[in-house]
């Protein structure tokens, strides 16, 4: 039978009432209003944070020799969470002494299968106390509880579980060579994933038979110190892991210590360069996991809604405090306007607020210093002529919060397109052809990660080959796994974490 498909005839045969609505709904809009508000849903588990933490050296909590402490605050409330010890050079030295002792007397000679059991224990204990650690992480660092609960803590446990299994299989890490532990390694980690970065560093190091002196970031030491308690529960031999807290001076004492056979650093490119210079004379072995300015490249044939979701997750995950954040969106010109509309619509449903509320999507900015830096860079974007968009969501009156933000009309030379913002700020550029996309994506001193969205398989493989980045996410973004090597190209660093490749950076070959 013949049926007309002319859109103007869509209402043929319908009743008059319906015809009335037919085509008079001009400028269709979606209403994300308050018809159904979610009530507050705070996570209430006790984080069991002590009021003060000493240093963890030689398996015991010891007071800093100079007796100095500083307050660690909750960035969502600006209230003090706990007091953290400041480790002096002398404290760092005693941590190295303890580590060296543990290495020589216990850890190096322990059979791999026994060493592995300790690492398994750590994984299990962390799983047991996952909720408590997640709450502590959110209170101390400001990240939404749903992320610390569903990502940070389980992923940290997974890293220990994965690497535990390597401890007695090191012979398979480097075919054709014999592997040995390096010795004592010094490690410095950032504030964006405090417990997870600690796991990325400690798990492969001790599984391979090394001992560790590690320093968490100044603003986020609480979960590291809780982790120290957990190491005691695990019965890990004294001195295998030593945790010293403090700021830049403590870090410099740690990275510059002559007993360190290797330094592993995750943090900003600027500090990475400082450490490289500091170690130039000694020639200490290093791995560096530094900054990024990842491009997320969206082609017109991509699965659009998943790409929107990937872009949102890519830049607003953990308030954008992610070294591999997809902070530059490169969208094909043919779909740019509609894609940006969809992004803005999606941003309307993001919930910014109390990190402990289970429905919070974007929590608190980690520190006032970081908030100031974000504000400064956003101002530069406006001043340089980019167009700012922020959704209308309400922000809490106290604490450090920032609206999810995107910039259109951004050019390659804008600071917001070149510098790592480390906040919930997306810079949008457009491209016309694949070659142009590649050129723009690679036009950065960084090379940590990249994203590509397209339905065409051969284009994915070509883009994956051309994008100069250590991790390429195709039709997904911000995915991590202990079995999957992670690390950068160019000024995003060298060395890998995760997988067999990462383990190889924690052994000596002979």
């Amino acid at each position: 039978m013949a049926v007309t498909l002319d859109p103007s005839d869509k209402d043929s045969g319908s009743k008059d009432e319906k015809k009335k609505h037919g085509h008079k709904l001009s400028v269709p809009e979606l209403i994300f209003g308050d018809l159904w508000e979610y009530d507050p849903a705070p996570e209430t588990a006790d984080p069991r944070i002590r009021s003060r933490y000493d240093l963890f050296i030689g398996g015991r909590f010891v007071a800093p020799q100079a007796g100095e402490y500083f307050a660690s605050i909750n960035p969502a409330t600006e209230e003090t969470v706990t007091e953290i010890a400041v480790a002096s050079a002398a404290d760092v030295d005693s941590a190295y002494v303890a580590a060296q002792m543990a290495y020589e007397t216990v850890w190096r000679t322990m059979p791999g299968r026994e060493r592995g059991k300790y690492v398994y224990r750590i994984a299990r204990l962390l799983q047991d106390r996952a909720r408590e650690f997640a709450v502590a992480e959110s209170i101390d660092g400001g990240k939404p509880i749903k992320e610390s609960r569903d990502f940070d803590v389980p992923m940290a446990a997974a890293h220990f579980f994965y690497h535990a299994g390597w401890a007695d299989k090191l012979a398979y890490v480097a075919p054709g060579r014999t592997v040995q532990p390096i010795g004592v390694v010094g490690q410095v980690i950032p504030w964006n994933f405090p417990l997870l970065m600690l796991a990325w560093k400690i798990a492969p190091a001790i599984a391979a038979g090394n001992c560790v002196v590690i320093k968490p970031a100044e603003t986020t030491s609480a979960t590291a110190m809780k982790f120290a308690e957990l190491l005691q529960e695990a019965g890990l031999p004294d001195g295998v892991v030593n945790i010293v807290t403090g700021g830049g001076e403590t870090g410099a004492a740690l990275t510059g210590h002559p007993a360190a056979r290797k330094i592993a650093f995750t943090g900003s490119t600027d500090v990475g360069k400082l450490i490289m210079r500091q170690l130039a004379e000694r020639g200490t072995r290093m791995t560096m996991e530094l900054g990024g300015k990842a491009a997320n490249v969206v082609f017109e044939d991509s699965p659009i809604d998943q790409a929107v979701e990937g872009v949102v997750h890519g830049i607003f995950f953990n308030q954008g405090h992610v070294c591999c954040a997809g902070s530059r969106l490169l969208v094909q010109e043919s779909i740019a306007e509609s894609f940006i509309n969809k992004l803005q619509q999606r941003m309307e449903t993001l919930r910014v607020g109390n990190p402990l509320d289970k429905n919070t999507d974007i929590g608190a900015i980690n520190s006032r210093e970081q908030l100031d830096r974000i504000c400064e860079l956003v101002e530069s974007g406006v001043a340089e002529g980019a167009k700012l968009y922020q959704p209308s969501c309400a922000l809490p009156s106290r604490g450090f919060f920032y609206r999810p933000t995107l910039f259109t009309e951004v050019t390659q030379s804008h600071r917001i397109a070149r510098e790592e913002i480390f906040g919930p700020v997306l810079s949008i550029l457009t491209f016309r052809t694949m070659d142009e996309a590649i050129e723009k994506a690679n036009n950065t001193m960084y090379g940590l990660s990249a994203g590509v969205w397209t339905d065409k398989g051969s284009r994915i493989l070509r883009m994956a080959a051309e994008l100069k980045a250590g991790v390429v996410w195709a039709n997904t973004f911000n995915k991590f796994d202990p079995a999957s090597p992670f690390g950068g190209y160019k000024e995003s660093g060298f060395g890998r974490e995760g997988g067999r490749q990462g383990l190889l950076d924690y052994v000596d070959l002979s």
Binding site: M1, V3, T4, L5, P7, K10, D11, S12, G13, S14, K15, K18, H21, G22, H23, K24, L25, S26, V27, P28, L30, I31, F32, G33, D34, L35, W36, E37, Y38, D39, P40, A41, K146, D150, E300, D301, S302, P303, I304, D305, Q306, E309, G310, E333, S334, I335, A336, E337, S338, I340, T349, K358, N359, T430, D455, N475, T476
Partner: protein, 320 residues
């Protein structure tokens, strides 16, 4: 500035033809959309917002019985349950009952003075495997018998054979046959198998529907039925079609939604995808039978603070 049209934008207004491909309507990544809907399930709905959600869900239920053993007696009991789901008068009636055509007259009598709609499946439900002529006759029979709403099935065989223009022609013919009745187009998503197919079929249907008509996931008679993910594919298609044409189409997931908790997850998806305008029974329905009792159970629990036994509720399955 940006050019206005694009491959996927244009696709909404692409007239389906012999040359149409599923991809013309945009593609869906399976892993991505399943990750997305998993996040809906982590929304924590408490207290007043939970009560609002549960009551709203009750008002959206198409209380369904579609069995060979259905009798006028069974339908009478269904109608009574639909009008007054529980003895708590603050709980709203359901949106509709959903039955086979032969029982419409019975139901019409019982619901004459009620706002509750009578929905009837038609078009050789659930397989659709009859001639178009017979299927259209069945639709007219149901409408004449007093059905307010018709739940039709699309021709999955034609769809999977790539005859998209014919699939759409058939839907258009049913639209015409329904007259004043509201139409719900069942895609039978589990037989379409891929999310790309579900998205394309949604557009093919919406292009010939009228404002206020629905698309629906499943018959409940196939191996798979509604999931958060296939419902999300359809919600996103509805959203894109609405923003493109201004025509609002309703959504009805059916089959497999048995618990209040699930229903809240589905409503979270509606709230965060289509927004407030779809949070009512004129644009969203649940095709379900046992869901209603769990909604009632949870409402009573919210109000009394005590967990309820299933046999407190009429027609409840779990009476041990």
């Amino acid at each position: 500035m940006f050019r206005r049209t694009s491959a996927w934008e244009r696709s909404y207004i692409t007239v389906v033809s012999k040359h149409s491909k599923v991809e013309d309507f945009g593609t869906v990544d399976r892993v991505g959309i399943e990750e997305r809907v998993a996040k809906f399930t982590t929304r924590s709905i408490k207290k007043q917002s939970k009560l609002w959600g549960l009551n709203t869900a009750v008002s959206m239920v198409d209380l369904t019985t579609l069995e060979g053993k259905d009798t006028p007696g069974k339908v009478a009991s269904l109608c009574q349950k639909a009008r007054q789901p529980s003895d708590d008068s603050s709980i709203p009636p359901v949106a509709a009952i959903c039955i086979y055509p032969s029982l419409i007259k019975e139901a019409r009598k019982l619901l004459a003075d009620s706002p509750i709609k009578i929905a009837s499946v038609a078009t050789a439900f659930p397989s659709g495997q009859s001639s178009l002529k017979v299927r259209l006759q069945e639709v007219k029979y149901a409408v004449n018998a007093g059905a307010d709403e018709i739940d039709m099935v699309i021709n999955r065989g034609l769809f999977l054979a790539g005859e998209y223009d014919a699939v759409q022609d058939e839907i258009a013919a049913v639209v015409e046959a329904t007259g004043d009745a509201t139409l719900k187009v069942i895609l039978e998503v589990s037989e379409l198998e891929t999310y790309d197919n579900i998205r394309a079929a949604s557009f093919m249907a919406m292009q010939v529907l009228r404002p206020g008509d629905f698309i629906k996931t499943s018959t409940g008679k196939a191996s798979g039925s509604a999931t958060l993910a296939n419902t999300q594919v359809m919600l996103e298609a509805i959203r894109d079609f609405y923003l493109d044409t201004g025509i609002p189409i309703g959504m009805k997931p059916a089959g497999g939604i048995r618990t209040a908790k699930q229903a809240l997850h589905y409503l979270v998806a509606v709230k965060e995808t289509l927004g407030d305008a779809w949070l009512n029974s004129s644009r969203y329905r649940f095709g379900a039978s046992s869901l209603l009792n769990d909604l009632l159970r949870q409402i009573h629990k919210e109000k009394s603070g005590a967990y309820q036994a299933p046999y407190y509720f009429s027609e409840a399955a779990g009476s041990y």
